[in-house]
Amino acid sequence: MSYLGRRFLHMLFVLWAIATVLFLMFRLMPGDPSTAYIDPNFTGEQRQLVLQQFGLDKPLSEQYLIFLKNTAQGEFGLSFRYRQPVTGLVVSVLPNTLLLTMTALFVAYAFGGFFGALLAWKRGSVLETVSIPIVLTTRAMPDFWLGMLILAIFAFGLGWFPSGGANAAGARFASEWDRIFSLDFLRHLALPCLTLAIFLQGLPVLLMRSNMLDVMREEFITMARMKGLPERSIMLRHAARNALLPLVTAFAITFGQLIGNNVVVETVFSWPGLGRMLVDAVANSDYPLAQGAFLMIAFVLVLMNFVADLLYGLLDPRVAQYG
């Protein structure tokens, strides 16, 4: 079977396994199986609808099959708190999370690529001696604590940025696009994005540096030197370009993991995203919403791992052939 096909089947397997684990976890909860889907405050009509939709009066094995079918169709039931379909709620906050994640990742990887290459170039300099411990320290910081510091300094101390949310209270916009491109949204985005970018830049910096050091020992670099090319051109056009490839897969993998680990930063900045929705749902025992948000996060994670596999095969054909 082709590499692509094998990776795709692998992705489907992982998604199925995660859905199964989630099903079992929520069924292992004490009490009636319907506690995972039916709130005591539901109206008789809502109760009947959910009971039928998830086959809660049927045996567990049948419930499992119905659960798999519903999950595949993106049907997660009704939220206890909002009395709305979970799918709609999850999809409505997805843009906020994706925008925050993407912006932070682009900032982190653009900086990381340049700075890592610079560190490799200036190997053994004071810059390197000072930078590496600092970079390691940023990797050891809890991201929510970093967010608290930034919030205390730039929002409360200096008052340059708003302290939370994605838009000023009561702001109205003609469309989702207007909202996202408004100055107000960007001002709200700045601090959580800065926090995540600082938290994330460590990996690309260290990865780029070690890749550069590897590439710089290759014969084609010696060749370029022998041709008498200027050092700057060797570094940028020959070494950096080749060292960049592993960063691309790291980007995809980090993207997937970040959607889930965003929960803390989104909470610190009250950012209305998927992670915060999950936290609120779990805190309020809103089980259907918690399940839906969890599966959405897991879906993005597994999908991005698949993308990383594909990129890996694309960038290094040997993987696709033998991997």
């Binding site: 992982v14 995660i18 684990v21 050891a140 809890p142 929510f144 604590w145 970093l146 999950l278 805190a283």
Partner: protein, 304 residues
Amino acid sequence: MASSVATPLAPAAGAKRRRRKAGVLLAQLRDPYALIGASIYLSFLLVAIFADRLASYDPTEILFTEDGGLASALPPSPAHWLGTTNLGRDVFSQLVLGARPSLFVGVTAALAVAAIGTVVGLITGYLGGIVDRVLMRLADMVLGLPFLPFVIITVALLGPSLRNIVLAVALLLWPNAARVIRSQVLTLSQRPFVEAARVTGASEWRIIFVHVAPNVLPLSFLYGSIAVGWAILTQASVSFLGFGDTGVISWGTMLQDAYASQALDRGQYAWFVPPGICIVLVVLAGFFVSRGYEELLFPKLRDE
């Protein structure tokens, strides 16, 4: 590093091996990074052990000023080195006692990850076949679980204890260790010494745990020391989100308390900066120690 281990004319093979092991540990400490890491661990361990004596107040006690008012949100002073919280509790005492749950979580999670990862890696790598396939598919599945959301849901369903946080972290982190150890075992099992053990009639379990296992221990230590940091960060994050054990004072619950009490708004840096610094130091120590092992495992990296 390796050259310092050389033993001149070893009298017996057993003594030689023992000396080599001691040499490896010493070489480990000769690396400045590893030494710094180990010192940080040791300091926090001492703080955790003597926390009762170091703390000047009961961390949960609500304190009052001399004129009878609540000692709320006091700035740092000789009586309260880091000031007091909103509800009049001593921040320094909380910080000192907060070392205990963090270290507990870090150490137990590291042991669990190293143990599960090593055993699974050894068994799958040496036995292969159906056991290997099932366990490795399980590892794939676990690697597809989003880390923090899984911990949050586990803790929400099983109860907010430190033990459950350790359980969730161990469940999520073993595959990384198992995969690497498995591939190491795959090459080790082709080596002549394993062949020799097989010829002498050693059982499969004896070969796995007596002959192969000692050779993958550095990897187990590496993944264990990485797990320390992850577990401590996770415990702090989960407590910060409010899913931790409310009866236990940890650096995470301190930060949550500070955040919820608007310490950020009022600029009470002495309250929320120190717990974060403690977390950074402990996690950093894990990086440094594992870096030391990395150099031991991949000596090529040192020349760069």
